[in-house]
Structures are given as C-alpha cells and as structure tokens.
C-alpha cells in the first residue's frame, strides 16, 4: 500500500474520483431535506397602511404568516374585493412532502447503487416535478386572484370592462391597487436549486471520470 501513496494505481484514482461525483450527488439529494424546515416561497405585500410589509411563507407542507396574524389581516383586506380566505390546508400540502421524500429516496438509491447516467435522469425528473409544482402554484394563485364573490363590496374593472384580478405574480413584483406584491423564492428553494445543480454537475463529473 505504501507504493500506492506516491504512485496511486489506476483503480485507486478511479475509486477516489467516483467518490467525488457520488458524494456530490448524495449531498445534492440530502439538501432537499431543507424543504421540511425552510420556506420554499414568499409572497409579501406592501401598502401605505403597511409600511412594514405583511405576507406569508409557503412551505412544502404549510403556509406560515411572516408576522403573527399576517394571514388573518390579508384575509380581512381581501374580503372587501370578494377574495377567498387563504386556506390553512391545501391538498398539495399532503402530497408535496411525499413527493420530496420520494425524490430523496430515489436520489439516495441512485447515488449509492447506480452510475452517473442516472444522476441525469434524477435531475430531469426533479426538474419536471419542480415545473409541475410551479404550475400547480400558478393555478392556485390564478384561482385565488380570479375567483371573486359576486357580493364583493368593492368591484374594480379593467379598462376593457373585465373584472380586475388580484393574482399575485408567479415570480417578481407587481402593483395591485394600493398593494405592491412581491413573489420570490425563499431559503428552502435555494437549497433545492443547489441540490439540483449538484446532481447535474455530478452527472458531468461522473462522465469525465469514466473516460480515465
């Protein structure tokens, strides 16, 4: 073994390098676990009456008020234009955690047992899952901003006569009446993105490694 230290054999190099892509993949997968602790997304509102913004953090399994009572206070304001209350529970909150756990288990299985090509498969799969999640988020936002009670006290219309919608932006900042709404990823999402990128990078590194 002494000789191996100064002149490592081909197989040792390969072993060590394989470990690098594998480690990257595994760490990337583990980072998804942050989603159970950290919020994925944030929607916040500023208004003249709210110099300190109010808003909510969206987790994979719940919606949490940014400050205590924020959701109650958003609901109070939104009821004037006929919007529904922000639900405490969405069906998605029951599904999303299993999806995340499933992806993590799959990722770990791939990381430990399968080769680099599967890293790409996992990456594409999580991209699809992410896209589906964003689409689902969009649908909820759309419904939340467009489904208004007929009896709303305040009804605003667009210049073309259609009812004004109160849908927050999917990503970015938008002015809705007296509110400026911000919708941006939060810390949990950055862990997710980093994990995805690591899996993606693990694929290329793994590919390079096999050329030795």
């Amino acid at each position: 073994m002494e000789g191996n230290i100064s002149f490592p054999s081909f197989s040792t190099i390969q072993e060590k390098s394989m470990k690098k892509s594998k480690a990257l993949m595994l760490i990337g997968v583990v980072l998804l676990g942050a989603l159970f602790v950290l919020p994925l997304w944030n929607i916040s509102l500023e208004a003249p009456q709210y110099p300190e913004a109010i808003g909510m953090n969206i987790h994979v399994n719940k919606i949490v008020a940014m400050n205590p009572n924020d959701i109650k206070n958003i609901n109070i304001m939104n009821h004037y234009v006929g919007m529904k209350d922000i639900p405490e529970m969405l069906p998605e909150f029951k599904i999303f955690p299993y999806v995340v756990i499933g992806m993590m288990l799959l990722g770990l299985l791939i990381g430990f047992k399968l080769n680099y090509r599967w890293y790409l498969v996992w990456f594409i799969l999580i991209c699809l899952v992410g896209a589906a999640g964003m689409y689902d988020f969009y649908l909820w936002e759309y419904d939340y901003g467009h489904t208004l009670k007929e009896t709303a006290a305040i009804k605003f219309k667009n210049p073309d006569g259609t009812p004004l919608a109160y849908q927050p932006p999917l990503l970015g900042t938008k002015t809705i009446l007296n509110f400026v709404a911000h919708s941006y990823p939060r810390s949990g999402a950055y862990f997710l993105f980093t994990g995805m990128l690591m899996a993606f990078a693990a694929f290329f590194i793994g590919k390079k490694e096999t050329k030795y």
């Binding site: 205590p68 009572n69 109650k72 206070n73 109070i76 304001m77 004037y80 006290a153 305040i154």
Partner: protein, 654 residues
C-alpha cells in the same frame, strides 16, 4: 445617519456664518449653532429623540410629547374620566377611580417620575400623584395606560409625591396638608400639636410592579411640600421640604410665612424599613382603595384595604432629622451625585444648598440646634454648604445636567437660571413666558441626566399665543442647554397645567411599546373570540350582548327582543389582531361615552333604553374603507312585549 449629520452640520455652519455676517449679532452658543427652527425640526416620518411625559395638573391626566419637536402623541387618562377613551366610563375602568370617598372622577395630577434601576431610568413604569384625593397612579410604559392606583390614607393634598428611590424600592407620597390622624371631629383652631403629616413609603414589587403602602411616618403637623430621593452615597435617605412650621390653620399666606427658616426633613428610610421589618410600627385601622387593572381580563378591580402600618419617627433613633432652610422652601432637589440637596426658599432671592456629607458629620457630632416635637434639628451652619446669592426672585425647582450645572426656575422673576454646583455662581439666565413652575431635564431626577434640553413649564401665557377668550393655555418652553448659554428653541401649549414632567430617551421605551393585545390571552369574562359565539342573553332586566367587531361589521348587528326598562350591556370584543386597528362603538341615547376598543380587547358599556323604537349603533373610529357601513340596529319593544330575544348578522331575523 452620518451623512445627515454632515449635511446638517454644513447647513448649521453656513447658517451661522450668514447670520453673523448679515446682522453682526453673535449667537450666544457659538459659531456652530443653527437656527432654533432647525433644532426642533423633526422631519415628517422621523421620530423624536425623547419622550416627555408632562403632567396635566387640573386636567388630572398625563400628556405624552416628543422632544425636540413638542408634538403631542397621547393624553393618558389617569385620574379623570376621559370620554374619548371611555376611561372611567366603561364598566372595566370605572373601578380605577374608586376611593374611600366613592367614585371620584377627577384629580389634580402633579409629578410624574419614571422608574429607576441603579439610579438610572429604566423605562418600565411612570408614577404620578393625584393631589386632591390623595392617590398614586402607575402607568405601564409598554401600553401607556394607567394600570394601578392606590389611595393614600392619613394624607391630604398629596403634593410631595410621587418620586421613586434609586431601584424603585419605593414611590414616596408626602402630605401637603396636615390633618388629624386618624381623622376625627375636632376644632380647627386646635391644629397646633394635634394635626399630623404622613409621609408614605409605597413599595413597588420588583416583579410585577404592584404597589403596597409599606409604612407611613407620622410627622409633626407641617406642610410637606416637595421631596426627592438621595442617590449614590445618600441612597437610603429621602428629603422633604416643609413650610408652615408655624402650624397655622388660617390665612397661611401670612401666618405660614413668619418663621425665617422652615425645614428640609431628612428621612433615613432604610432605617425605618429595617424597624418595620423587625416588627416595629403600629397597624392602624384605615380605609383606602387599591385599584388594579389587569391586562388579561382588561378589567380593573378595586379592593378596600383596612389597615396601614404607621411609624412614630421618635421611636427610631437616627431615622429623621430636620435641616433648617430659609423662607418656606418649595423645591427639594438632589444633584446626580447625591451630595447636594437644594432647597428653594420661595419667598427668598437665594437658593440654599445643603451637603449630605456635612449632614452625616453633623449627625455624628450631634451638632443639634434643638428639636421639634422630639425630632433633632441640625445646626444650619453645619449642614449648609453654599448659597446661590441673589439668583432671582421666587426660586421653585432645580434640575441638573450631569455636567456640574444646575438650572433653577424663578416664578416671580419668570426665568430659568443656570448656576454651577460647588462654586454657586450664576452663569446664565433666560426669561420664561411667563411665571415658570417646574422644569425638566430628561433623566434630571436620576444619577444620569441626559442633558441636552431643559423644558420649562409656565403657569401664564398671556400674549404668547392667539387669544382663546378668558381662558388661555399653559405652556412648555424648550431650551437647548448643550452650549454654555441656554437657547430658547420652542414654545408649545400643554394639556391642563403642567406641574412637572419626566423625560427619557425614546429608545428606552419605544422598542417595548405594545402593538395590540393577543386575543388568545383575553380572559375577560364576557369576551367572545369568534363570531360563532356571539349571542344575547337575558337575566331578568339585564341583557348581555356578547358582540364582536372586525373590519367592517359588528356581530350581531340586528338585535330584537329588548324592552323598555332593560339594562343592556354591550360587551364588545375587537377581534382584530393588527396594529392600529381599534374599533369604536356608541349607541344612540346611551348615558355614557363611546367605547374605543383596541385589537384583542373587550370593553363594556351599558344602555338603558327609555323609548320604544329601532335604534342604531355604529363604529366611532374610522376603521376601514367601509367604516361608514359599520352599524347595526336594536329593536326596543314595550315592557309588556313577549317578543323573544333574537339576533343576526348578514341575514334577516325570522
């Protein structure tokens, strides 16, 4: 922040140069001073540097201002009913104004003082005295509400009050008028030797701040005018000015002004405390109210206390001494080091300064000059350390800047005079407009004054503002004292008569200011925490409405089945949990005030309908865009009606 400083510095500099060049006048406070307007200008949206709590005198209240702007933020109701906030009108706060004389809806509020820890302001509580029906109130500085009032027995004209000791061990209340103790039917002209003056030491619980009269020292029948605590080396002592040592009961303006010297009474309260803790003193039957407002139930309770511990000072050797002080002294002020005790002989042109260390030495050497009712009188020459000669006319009160300077008000010559501790030389004087009483430097009654400003409080304003008929405002005047010379910056009107004030840096209080009450913590017996639980219940002629408010409706808002002759209790819970969203409520013909209910709070008013009809109620605080829609109706039927109680929201009553 630095940028702002630089900018304003440049502005000030150029302003000063400009002024200096254009009219050749030189500013008293040096080349760097800008215009007074710049110094008091607090940009819209910016906050003031200090809170000033200014007593409302005969208004019975306490006003909260910002310094240096002089902007009024709030009037805290303390001793008087306040229809705006329903204080003393709603069922919850009526007990706050209960006394042994029954419900007393007014008092004369005098001397606010902020709680201290280790001799420095800690910003937890503010204490203030009711002068007329002797009471001490505590204001919680997280809610800016009066949360406790204790009546002071054996006392009258509760004036040498409500000053705190270094660690808020006690808030002290002294009687201005001596009275028979205990009260009894006796000839007034037998005052001398029979009337007594009670000095009350009210303990403040270190945890919850609850007040309790620990002991009363029963002193000779003088008038105990003002007081201040010792600090530093003199911590453990309390000093009271006296006048009417002649013990006159009539035409005091002449008869109480005959003695060349009255006294400052020095009380070693630690000695008295130890004596009482050791079982000393007597439990004396008494009857006085102790009113406590609970933040949990949003309700005050009034308890009558039936005894008080009284102490005869002659039974505690070394507890009380009298320091001769010329000319009916009024203010009794102790400098930040605790060494100097300034007596302001109000009929004199001089200020008398006693030294604490001289006093201790005189006590040790038994340098006495007789006694009064067995209380040793110390030799004037032994305790006196200096006199500020011919400083002005009618000195009243002194505050300190912590830089070795003292500032004294002179009522008759209407001015504030700055002088130096130790050399007793007058270094500056500025007129006040007019007839100044107290003055205040933030932290001026503590080991650590914050300097910078002095606020002088005037009794008379005459021509200073637009006239408002025979009654014109009292005023406060703000001086910049950061330079060698005082500079008048601002005049502003006050609520009632400002007797004294307490100032504190805003950052010691603002961060603790409560935004709303948590609904889940509300333990009011008539609270409802959601609309589903709202209801109306009848108990004989009493009808209880469990009502809620939230933007922008009452629940319920239609009520039927009320009858003429009923007593209707509106128990209204504000379900909001947002900052600055109170709701108000008032009912046509209710013989009381509106309610103004903070988020999470429950308040109650009563209504006794006298006429058949359908009567509306509405929200009185512009709460939201649909505030005007926030209203409801109560149907009142004849006494003989059999219509059952019913209520609804959002649908017709069937």
């Amino acid at each position: 922040m630095k940028k702002i400083f630089k900018k304003s510095f440049l502005l000030l500099l150029s302003a000063a140069i400009f002024t200096a060049c254009s009219n050749g006048k030189k500013s008293d406070s040096g080349a760097l001073s800008g215009s007074a307007a710049e110094k008091v200008y607090v940009k819209p949206g910016d906050h003031d540097e200090f809170y000033a709590f200014i007593s409302g005198g005969f208004s019975g209240q306490l006003a909260v201002y910002g310094l240096p702007s002089g902007r009024l933020f709030k009037v805290i109701p303390v001793f008087s009913q306040d229809a705006e906030k329903a204080y003393g009108y709603n069922e919850e706060t009526k007990p706050m104004l209960n006394t042994s004389h029954g419900f007393v809806p007014w008092d004369d509020s005098h001397h606010p003082d902020i709680s201290q820890t280790a001799g420095e302001l800690d910003g937890r509580y503010l204490f203030i005295n009711g002068n007329n029906t002797p009471r001490i109130a505590k204001v919680d500085l997280t809610t800016f509400e009066t949360t406790e009032i204790i009546e002071v027995p054996n006392s009258a004209g509760n004036h040498s009050s409500s000053f705190v000791t270094e660690n808020t061990e006690y808030v002290v209340a002294g009687t201005r008028f001596s009275v028979p103790v205990p009260q009894r039917d006796m000839p007034i002209n037998e005052y001398k030797g029979n009337f007594k003056g009670a000095l009350s030491f009210i303990s403040v619980d270190p945890e919850d701040g609850e007040m309790d009269i620990k002991f009363q020292i029963i002193m000779p029948g003088f008038n105990y005018d003002l007081s201040h605590p010792g600090r530093g080396d003199s911590h453990g002592w309390f000093f009271f000015t006296t006048y009417n040592t002649e013990e006159a009961s009539t035409l005091l303006e002449v008869n109480a002004s005959q003695n060349d010297k009255d006294f400052i009474a020095a009380i070693n309260w630690k000695k008295v405390e130890a004596y009482v803790n050791g079982g000393g003193g007597k439990k004396m039957p008494a009857n006085y109210a102790h009113n406590v407002y609970s933040e949990e139930t949003h309700t005050a309770t009034s308890t009558m206390k039936k005894s008080v511990t009284v102490v005869d000072p002659r039974e505690i050797p070394g507890a009380v001494y009298l320091l001769p002080t010329p000319k009916s002294p009024h203010g009794c002020d102790v400098d930040p080091s605790g060494e100097y005790i300034v007596g302001s002989g109000k009929l004199s042109s001089n200020l008398t300064v006693h030294s604490f260390s001289n006093m201790i030495k005189a006590i040790d050497e038994e340098n006495f000059d007789g006694d009064a009712y067995g209380i040793p009188i110390l030799s004037f020459d032994a305790v006196n350390t200096g006199t500020v000669e011919q400083a002005g006319l009618g000195p009243l009160h002194t505050e300190f800047d912590g830089e070795g300077n003292a500032y004294t008000t002179f009522f008759i010559s209407s001015e504030v005079v700055k002088w130096k501790l130790g050399t007793w030389e007058v270094v500056d004087r500025k007129p006040t407009y007019y007839s100044v009483g107290h003055l205040m430097i933030p932290g001026g009654n503590s080991r650590k004054p914050f300097g910078k400003y002095v606020v002088a409080m005037n009794k008379i304003t005459k021509d200073r503002y637009l006239p408002t008929g025979p009654e014109v405002t009292q005023s406060a005047q703000l001086f910049d004292i950061s330079g060698d010379k005082m500079e008048l910056l601002l005049d502003f009107p006050t609520i009632g008569e400002p007797h004294y004030a307490a100032g504190i840096p805003a950052d010691l209080i603002a961060k603790n200011s409560k935004k709303f009450y948590a609904l889940e913590d509300n333990k009011h017996p008539y609270a409802v925490k959601n609309e589903a639980d709202t209801r109306v219940e009848r108990k004989g002629k009493d009808v209880h409405i469990y009502m809620t408010t939230i933007r922008s409706h009452f629940a319920p808002d239609n009520i039927e089945g009320i009858k003429v002759g009923d007593k209707v209790y509106f128990h209204v819970t504000n379900l909001e949990q947002d900052y600055d969203v109170p709701h108000g409520v008032s009912m046509i013909g209710a013989n009381t005030s509106e309610l103004l209910i903070m988020p999470g709070q429950t308040e109650t008013f009563t209504w006794e309908p006298k006429q058949v009809g359908v009567w509306p109620f509405y929200c009185t605080d512009f709460c939201s865009a649909l505030h005007q829609e926030m209203q409801g109706y109560v149907r009142v039927s004849p006494r003989s009606s059999t219509l059952p109680l019913s209520w609804s929201l959002g649908e017709d009553i069937e």
